[in-house]
Structure formats: structure tokens, C-alpha cells
Symmetry: D3
Subunit: 256 residues, 6 copies
């Protein structure tokens, strides 16, 4: 009954681990969002969870239950929130969830949390939730609570990018349902990918502005913003290793 997952610990075991504030908690934050016809709708939660588990084992941290619903998909990074299946929260709801959960961990004694984000659109609402939690904790006299906010793709090295995208890197913005996520899913959850459904398409291009309500014709019919065809489990393995290594290394010293 030992586990890196907080949810799988009994309370006395968890309490023992966190009450002195030294154990870090990793909190994966995802989304339920369409990722094309070739993939399930949960990569944004499964991928940061997988990374958090591996990082936690390497650095002696714990993993909190993932937040499964995220902020609204934006058209230029996720296809848009008009798509079927995409299931999103208002900004305030996500912000409040993060605020509440962080304050509870602080009550338990936790002083170091790393938010492991898997859904681009969450970023600013995570930042706001963290800021509000720190504010209220300060009102409770807790001034040594710190939070790292990271998105896993920011740990893919330039070298890896060149290896994964030998034909040219389209940019993270259009990597929605593309090579990055599909490769990682092929490696980690192959039964949730069906490459026969992957659409060969050029990377989506957009004007230099956002438009509301979304213009559905801007989003490729597949819902993906670039082609998943070049994805492979081997690439996924490499990406996972690079991210886990990079995140672990950074978190080891981030709170010093």
C-alpha cells in the first residue's frame, strides 16, 4: 500500500510524508478535449499524469489526483471550444479549483507543489489560482508555500525537437493532436490511438488574431492542427524520457 499517488495512501502514511513540508506534491492538470479522429480525448490528463508519476519516483515526490477538466479550448491551439467532445470549465471555475486544492495541501503541511500542465489553455488560469491560494495562505500566516507551474512540452530540448521533427518543427501552437501528443500516447497508451484514422494534413495556419465565436472552418476537419502521421511510439519514448529527465532536474533545485 505504498504509492506515489496521494489517493492511494492511507491518511496516516500521507500525513507522515508531508506534515514537515519537505515532500513535494505534483498536481497534473489536464482537459477533456478532442484530439482528432485517431486518438482518445484524454491525452492532456494522461500525459502529465504519466510524467508526474515518473518524476515523483525519481525525486521522491507525491502525485495528487489530476484535474480532469480544463479551460476552454482555443481555436489556434486546440481547435476551438465549439468541437464535439471538448468539455471545458469557465476560467473562474478552474482558478477556484486550483486555489482550493492548493490551500488544502498547505493545511496538510505541504510547502512545495509543482503544477504539471498538459493543456496549453490552462496556463494563465493556473497562474491565477496559484496567486490567489498564496494570497489566502499568507492571510493564514503561511508564508513559505511555493509553487512551480510548468507545461511538460517546455522541457523538450532543442536537440530532441530536431530529432522528432527532422522535416521542420511547426511550433507547439499547432502540435494539438500532432506528433508530440500522439507519439507519447502511442508509447504510453497505445490502445487509445488508432493510427489508421490519423489524417495527413499540413500544419494549420491562422491569421495573427483570435476570433470569437470561433469560425469553424478555420479548424481542420480532423480537429488536429497538424499531422500525426509521423508519430511513433519510439518518438514517444524519447519525448517521455526527455521531459521526465528535464522536469526532474529542474524540480530538484527549483525550491532551493
Amino acid at each position: 500500500m505504498d504509492s506515489v499517488h496521494i489517493s492511494e495512501l492511507s491518511w496516516p502514511v500521507y500525513d507522515e510524508k508531508v506534515r514537515d513540508g519537505r515532500t513535494m506534491v505534483l498536481l497534473p492538470i489536464g482537459a477533456l478535449e478532442q484530439h482528432g479522429p485517431h486518438m482518445s480525448m484524454n491525452p492532456d490528463v494522461l500525459l502529465p499524469t504519466a510524467m508526474a508519476e515518473r518524476v515523483a519516483r525519481k525525486i521522491g515526490a507525491l502525485v495528487a489526483p489530476a484535474i480532469a477538466y480544463g479551460y476552454k479550448s482555443q481555436q489556434k491551439s486546440g481547435g476551438g471550444n465549439h468541437m464535439p467532445g471538448t468539455t471545458s470549465l469557465d476560467g473562474l471555475t478552474l482558478t477556484s479549483t486550483i486555489k482550493d486544492v492548493l490551500k488544502e495541501f498547505a493545511r496538510h503541511g505541504v510547502r512545495k507543489v509543482a503544477m504539471v500542465n498538459g493543456h496549453f489553455e490552462n496556463s494563465m488560469f493556473i497562474a491565477e489560482g496559484v496567486d490567489l491560494a498564496i494570497r489566502e495562505l499568507r492571510w493564514d500566516g503561511i508564508r513559505d508555500f511555493s509553487v512551480v507551474v510548468l507545461s511538460y512540452w517546455d522541457f523538450v530540448t532543442e536537440e530532441t525537437i530536431r530529432e522528432i521533427y527532422p522535416y521542420g518543427f511547426p511550433g507547439w501552437a499547432v502540435e494539438h493532436g500532432g506528433v508530440l501528443e500522439t507519439s507519447l500516447m502511442l508509447h504510453l497508451h497505445p490502445h487509445l490511438v488508432d493510427m489508421s484514422k490519423a489524417v495527413d494534413q499540413p500544419a494549420a495556419t491562422f491569421p495573427p488574431y483570435d476570433f470569437f465565436p470561433t469560425k469553424p472552418h478555420w479548424t481542420p476537419c480532423s480537429g488536429c492542427l497538424s499531422s500525426a502521421k509521423p508519430a511513433s511510439a519510439a518518438k514517444g519514448k524519447l519525448l517521455l524520457e526527455v521531459c521526465v529527465e528535464g522536469i526532474s532536474q529542474q524540480l530538484r533545485t527549483a525550491f532551493d
Copy 2:
């Protein structure tokens, strides 16, 4: 790549299933809450999820990603929110989460949702979230969206209660970390239970009022409100069957 779990479907498959409004969606709602020294902190999310999966298979429904954090543990039904490990949301946060998610399902075409609750304290905030979602959907001209709200223990029959608790039923209120939840976990997730840590204790008794802030000494040291000792995997199997059968039967006609 077929699944009862929405998160495991690609969006075109999901879209096909729900856009005409006939497929029901089951939404498990749990908590991260201490459940004594003998059990992990996730029964409130694992148990309704397990039931939702089985019900979904029986009646042709889908299961949405569970809501993993719930409302604050109350002392007389969950030991209280001062306990280590228990990690809760403010009422408004939970209500908003439910409102937002329901509205998204409605946008996809879903017209029938059953909230499968595993954490007693969630009930009224679920009701409020449902009410607010229905209100806003009405403003969007959607008037045929309906929601069942249920807690799985309400489907344990009188007969089963007599079988499970031959020595007398203490009431659901004190079944926190007791025979019901422990038996179900022993059957479904035995690696998350360590019966050697189960404490033999009488059912907790409380005065006929609630007190805030909690009086820690009211809660038994274990965090459980009754003894898990009489729990068994066999009882868990029975309880699971009874609940799955009862919920399935009710949901088959609830939306008629």
C-alpha cells in the same frame, strides 16, 4: 478503441453516440478524503466510478471523467475537514464545476445525465450545480435536458443491509470508512486496503448538532466512524451487484 469512458473515445465516435441526445452520460463525483488507516483516500471516487462503468455497460450509457475533489468532509459523516489528507473544495467551486461540465455535455447533444455520487457531503452542491446548469441551458433554449442525482448507497436494499450487517446496521451516516466502503474496496481494489490496520471500534456517536470549527476529539483517532473489521470482499461483491442492479433498473426508466 471503443469504451464506456468518454475520455477513451475519439471525438467522432463520441459525437456519433451522443449528438441525437439518446445516450445517457454518467458522471461520477467523489472526493479525496481520509478513510481510516486501513484504506486509501480515494474510495469516494473509485466506487462510484466502478459502479458507473458497470451500469453503463448494462444500459448502454457512457461514463464521464470523475470529479476527483469534493465538498468539505463533515465531522459526523466523514470525520471532519481538519483531518490530514482530506482535500476539499469550497461549495461554490464544486457547484460551478458541475454546472460547467453539464452545460458542455448539453452542447454536445447529451440530454440525459446521471450524477453518481460517492461522497455524502457533495449532495446539495451537486443539486445546486444541476439547478444552475438547467437554468442557463434554458436561457440557451435547451429545455429537454434532465439530470438524475443519486448516491450509490441509496440502492442497497433492506435485504442486503440485513445480510451485510447481521449484528445491526449503524446507519449510513457513520459508514465512513466502515463495512460498506471497505468491503467494496476489498472486492474492487484489494491492493488499496490493508485489513491489518483496520481498527476495531464502536460506531461513533455524536450530539444532535454540528459544531464548527470541528472538535477533533469527536472523531475517532482512526478517522473511521465505524469499524471496518466485519468487511469482506464477498460483502463487497454483493454490495456492488446490488447497487449496479438497482441503479441500472432505475436509470432505465428515470428519463421516460
Copy 3:
């Protein structure tokens, strides 16, 4: 110009009573809700107010102005919020009202408050309001403010239940507009009851789940969930005495 009602005191008299924190304040919380064709719509506020007055006199406490509007009537305990006359608040509104009022009493010096609830559906929103008030008071450095939350019917003893319901107790859930409330009103406010309009009906039965929006045909036409016919002023007198005695006894020691 002395009174148990805060509202009927001048501020210097009130100030003298509460500034040292020893005097308890009782805060009745009700609803404006249909209670059948034989009764006015205010029992949920009149009954806890009547009890609070009597308790206050017995134990030297004060009674704050009642909160006259409550949370939405639920179909299985109050007939449902689609009924004419029922006039309810959103959960957050009730919670905020309670939070604000409690913080003000704390500012005056009050340290002991008992919420005397007369409307079942209020319970969790009262709990949340109390929790939020205590949180903010803690931020103001006030850490000795405590609150009892009670519903008066929880003080009806088993013995009294047997006496009042010789033919069998249907459960508090369906006591909406039934013997309990009608008897108390007949004793306390007989001009607000017209027994000639009381409907003879079996106790309502419901499936083991809630449904939204309400299914109007689930609610008996009268709006009552059980028959008020067996009600009497004598039963009301007994119930009042038992509740006042029980509440007084508990409150005398609750804050020790």
C-alpha cells in the same frame, strides 16, 4: 425595553450583553415555502424562531433576526421549487448571508452562535456559510468563534416520536407540511392553520434518486408530503417542549 430579541434592544444594552463574548446568539433560519393548502407559508421561519425565543429565555441567550428566505425546496423533502409561493435563494446567496451576519456578530464580541434551522434544504449551505465566516474571522485574528448548527426536529426524542406517530413514523423527509409542522403551528399560531383544508393522503414515496427539473407529478397535489390530519395543538405543545428542552440542554454545554 429588555428582550431576548437583539433587534428589540438598543445598542448600548446589546453591547453590554455581548462584548465580553459570553452571551450566546441564536440565529433562526427559515424559508418562504408552500406547506400545503391548510397552512401558511412561514412555518420554517416561525417555528425555529419560537424555539429560539424559548431556548434563549431558558439559557440566557439572545435571538437574532431570522433569515426569512432559504435554499431551494427539494422535491423529496419540500415538494420542489417549481411550486407556487415557494421563494428561494441560490446557494451562494444564502451562504453569503450567513457568512456576513456571523462576521458582524463576531465583530460585536459574540463568540458563541447557534444556528436554529427550520428548513431541511438549508443545512449544507449553512455549514458552508459558517465555514467561510470562521475562515475569514481567522484571517482577522479571531480564533475563538464557534458555531452550533442544528435543525430543531433532530431534538424530537424517540419516545416523543412514538407518542406523536402511534401509527408509525414516516420519517422526517416526508414530514413536509405534515404532523410535525402542523401540530407546532396549531399550538403556536393557530390562526395560520385551517385544518378543514388539510388533505388526507398517504406519505409520499419517491424513487431513490433526485430528478431535475422536478417532475411535478411526483409531488402530491396538496404540496404536502404526508397527511397533516393527525396533527393537533396538543401534539404541537409536546413537540415544542421536547425540542426547547433538548436544544437548551445541548446548548448549555456545547461550547464548553
Copy 4:
């Protein structure tokens, strides 16, 4: 069992009266606020309630349960919210209460509501609550719901002012706990006034700005902003008649 008070009607009687939208509902809004050493803290709720009852009888309207807690006392019109006994709501709480209650009346069929205000500081938060209710009702397709917002002192005629204040009218701003309210209370609720405690003091004067946090020394020690000494039950009777007459007359045609 007939009454101008909604709370004292059974639901079928109320339903009959309001469902066609022709009956007006009067909603008194007050405060729990210090009013000097010579008077109880409830004039702001008792006085508009008394007027609403009388107006309702004259024009065939109904009176809803009063809102007993109001917005924060401002120093230049109510002595300030630092005073003992004054028990106030945040602006949003009051606004939300009004919004919720108005929407419920509209659901019942009511189309004409008059808010009868007894506490100066409530005014803008009432206006906001009304505006938000009308907005949401519009979203529900209800476009014929109208609301009058009035404060009773605005119906005291110039002639009456000259009669009541032969020595010069200090202005409504400093009439807090002064001749107006005290006279009305002497007429309506003499047991809640003790003229022997009334302080003889000049009308308070203030600089042409507000200051936060309040400067306690700006408020006269009594908490009153002008002297109640010239108050009398006879003046109260006159004021009541003038207000009831003026309000009735205006409301008769306001909704045409």
C-alpha cells in the same frame, strides 16, 4: 387565514392572487442597525413593513417577508459600520438576495413589485439587484416584469416637513435615530422606544467627503446623527399617514 402578508397565506390562496400578474407585491427592505440609546435596532425594518402593510390594504397589494439585514451603515447617514449592534451585509450579498427573491416572484406570476426601503444605504444595491433580476428574467423570456424602488421618507411632503421640524429641517442625511424614525416608532412600537434615554444633541456635521475606515469620533457618542428629543407619537402618526397616502397614490399609477 386571509392576510396581506404572503407568508401568512397558503400557497393555493397566494397562487390565486398572483398568477395572472395583476396583484402587486411590496417588499420591505431594512437593516439591523443601531439607532441610538433610546431605540431598538429594528426601525429600518419595522417602519417600511408597517407602511407596506397599510399601503397593501389600501391598494389591494401583498407584502413579502422583509429583508432584515441591509448594507453597511455609512458614517454620515447611519453612524458607521464600526458601531456595536449594526449588522450588515456585503453589497453583493444584498444584491443577490434581491435578485433571487424577485426572480421567484416573477416565476409565480407576479409582474409588479415595489421595494419599500427603510435603510438609506441599501438604495444602490437594491437598484443593482433589481437590474440583475430584470436581466435574467429577460433571458427567461419575461419582459413585462417591472419594479418600483422607493424609500419611504421621500414621500414626506414639504408641508409635513415644516410641521414636523418647525425649528428647521436638518436634512434626511442626519435624520438617523432622529425625529423621523423615533416619532414613527413611538406611534407604531412605543415599547421599543425609551425617550428618557434620548440624547439632546445638535445635528451632526461632517466634512464634504467620506472617510474609510470610519473615524469613530465623527459619530456622536449616542450613535444618533440628530436629536430625537422633539419626537412624538403624534408626529409619528402624521408621518405614517403622509407616507402611506403618498406611497399608495404613486403606486396606484406607477405601473400603468
Copy 5:
């Protein structure tokens, strides 16, 4: 690069000025609101800004960027929020803006702020924003932060009123788009006034209550509540001098 405007300072210069808490900050609060056919829609922001600049120079204070959008125009003081061009915030939005900005100034070290209001309807929402800011600052241990809230017209002396309105003063309430604002604009921003479009009309009269939704026919067609015809730049110059002098004088000692 020196300026009374905070926005025109570099941060080290600003920091030097405010970090010891001695420099006062003036915060103009306006509205975007119709002011008749003869005038631009920004007097409510330009006029308090102009005064704040002049006051700041006289007393050594700084001026913060004005809040350009205000609370909803009320029919009896601003023509009503149904008018074209009038662009308003919900009460909570304005309150939150003020709360947030004040807390930031306090973080910089500022301890004295004067809110210079130019839009009547803002007043109570400013008061609420200030109250909430002070509350949260108190939770941060900041207890010496004070705020003056003023509306510039309250500094027009009786003598000046007699001079400006020799034919009788209609009251500030109907001075919307009238002599006061038009004269000040003619003096300060003559290119934003076209007196040939000024309408000669009697001062608007209203019943002693507010009505929602607004009754458009209550508002004169021009949108002004009184005639701007008697306005002149000379009157504007006088009004500006009187207000600047009065505000400066009061602010010099308000925080002692």
C-alpha cells in the same frame, strides 16, 4: 520626466515618492455616459481628472490612471442606462476594480488615497470597493491605509451656487449634462462642447421613486436633465477653482 501622473513616472521615481507612505494618491473615477447632444460622453472622467491634477500639484500628491467606465446610469440622475452611448459596469465589476487597484497601491507603500468621483452613480460601489480593500489589507497586516471618497460637486460652495445659478439651483440630481458639467467642459475642453446643440429645456422632474426597467419617456429627448444653455467657460473656470481649492484644503488635513 516628472509628472503628477503615476503613469508618466518611471518605477524608480514612483517608488521613491510613495514607499514611505507619505505621498497621497488621487484616483479619478468616471464613466462613459451620454451627456446630451452638445457634449462628448467623457465629462465624468475628464472633470475629476482635471481636478485631481490641479489638486495634486497644489498639495504634492500623485494622480493614478482614471477608471474610465462606471456604474449604470440611473434615470433620475443620468438619464438611464437604456441610452445609446452610455457604457456601464455591473456593480461588482466596479467594486472589484477599486478593491484590486487600492490593494496594489497599498503594496507599493501608499497609505493615503483620495477617490475623486465624477459620476454620481458610482458612489456606493466605490464605498464598497474601499471597504473590501481595507478588509483584505487588514488580513495582510496593513492597518494604516485610509481612503477619502469624494464627489467634486460637493465642494461647490453655497456662494458659488448662488453665483452660477442666479435663477435658482435645480439640485445636483438634475445637473446631468447641465450648467455644472457643461461650464467645466467649456473651460477645460471647449472642443468637446458644441453649444449650438445645447437644448433649452426645463429641469426634469420625476416621481419620488425609481422605476425599472427605465421608462424612456421620463428622460428628456436630449438626454440632459436640465438646460446647459446658461453654461459658460467663465462659470467653468470659477467652478474649477472653487472645487480645486475646496478639495485641496480638505485633503490637506483629512488624513491627520
Copy 6:
């Protein structure tokens, strides 16, 4: 009295321009934020306002009053919200402001709005405000209201980047108080820049995560994230022309 600024129009002129929905409104959104020792704190509001004015003249649009306070400065793009002078709003406050203002423009008849953002951190909260406005307008039956959200730097062409940064482009992220903003300010508002105070510093580098609360030593002492030394008015002129041209061109067809 004609102007591209809405605030400088009388209401009948504005009404004439917008009521048929054909005229586009540009809404600049900025911040009050430190931009180094060599520059005032208002570039984020002055620059989008300047561009909006020029774009409006080219394409026949109107400019609404700028929103002067923005979301919290993030350390890796703005130096962090711990810096003196930086004065920010909570996310919900900014979101609500945008929602409210957009709904008002829609009420006037406007159907095309372009948000011209000058502060990176605003982006997601603008998106949320726009989404919420569109939702509520839909509830009001307005379904043809569209919004472009743009940040002006996204219109700087690759060619211009090469020209402005011959020594290599550090990326927009660290362009806070650097060449882009300083050059534009030198061209547009030279009196608000003092190049003698510009610090020569390498572009800031950060780890691939955010940290809360900010680590002050991460931010260069100047508050700038890259050197403003290479800035010039000529570069500013070029940048302004390129942005105005690019934005105008895009907006001409964006709403087709």
C-alpha cells in the same frame, strides 16, 4: 466635434454611427506596469491606443476608452507583480470589465469589436471576457456579435524583426521594456522616455517554468527583460507603421 474616440462624440453622433452594426469598435487594453528606469509605466496602454487611433482612421472605425489596468505582471514576461508601480487586477475583475463593456456596445448596436491588447498577460482573461459576453448576448437573442482579439506585436513582420534586431531577436517574451516598446514610445511619446536611464543588459533568461511567489532575483534590477539601448524613434516609426498597416489589413476582412 468629430473624432475616432467614442468618448469624444456626443451620443446622437455615436448612435448614428453604430446603431446599424456596421461600424467597428476598437478597444485598447493595457496595464499600469513598470517598464524600467528609462520609461513611464503606461506604454501598455498608450501603444495600443495609438495604434487603434491610426487603424480607426484608416478603416473608418471607432476607438473606445482604453482599459488602463490589466492582469498581473508575470515574472518571465513583465518582471513580476512584486515590482513597485505595477498595479494589476485579479483575473476575474479584468474578465468582468471586458464582459460588461462588450455587452454595452452590443446594446448600442455594435456588432464588430476588435480588442487591441498591449499587455501580454491580459490575453487569456480577454478571451474569457469575450466568451462570457458572447454567451450572455446569445441569451439576449444577439447572435451576430463578433470579436477579434489581437496583440499588436503579432503584426510585426519577420522582415521588420530582422531590420529592428539585426543582432538577433530575443523573442517577444523578454521584449518587456526593451527595443520594441521603447522605440515606439520614443516615436510617439518621447517625453516619457529618458534614454540616459536605459540599462545595457543581456536579455533575461529563465528556467522553463514559472515560480510563485516570484523570486525577485530572477528579474533584472532594472525591471526590463532586455536592453532598450538599441531603441530609436526611427525604429518606433517603422514598428508603428508596420503594426498599423498589418492590423488595418486584417481587420478589413476579419468580420466577413
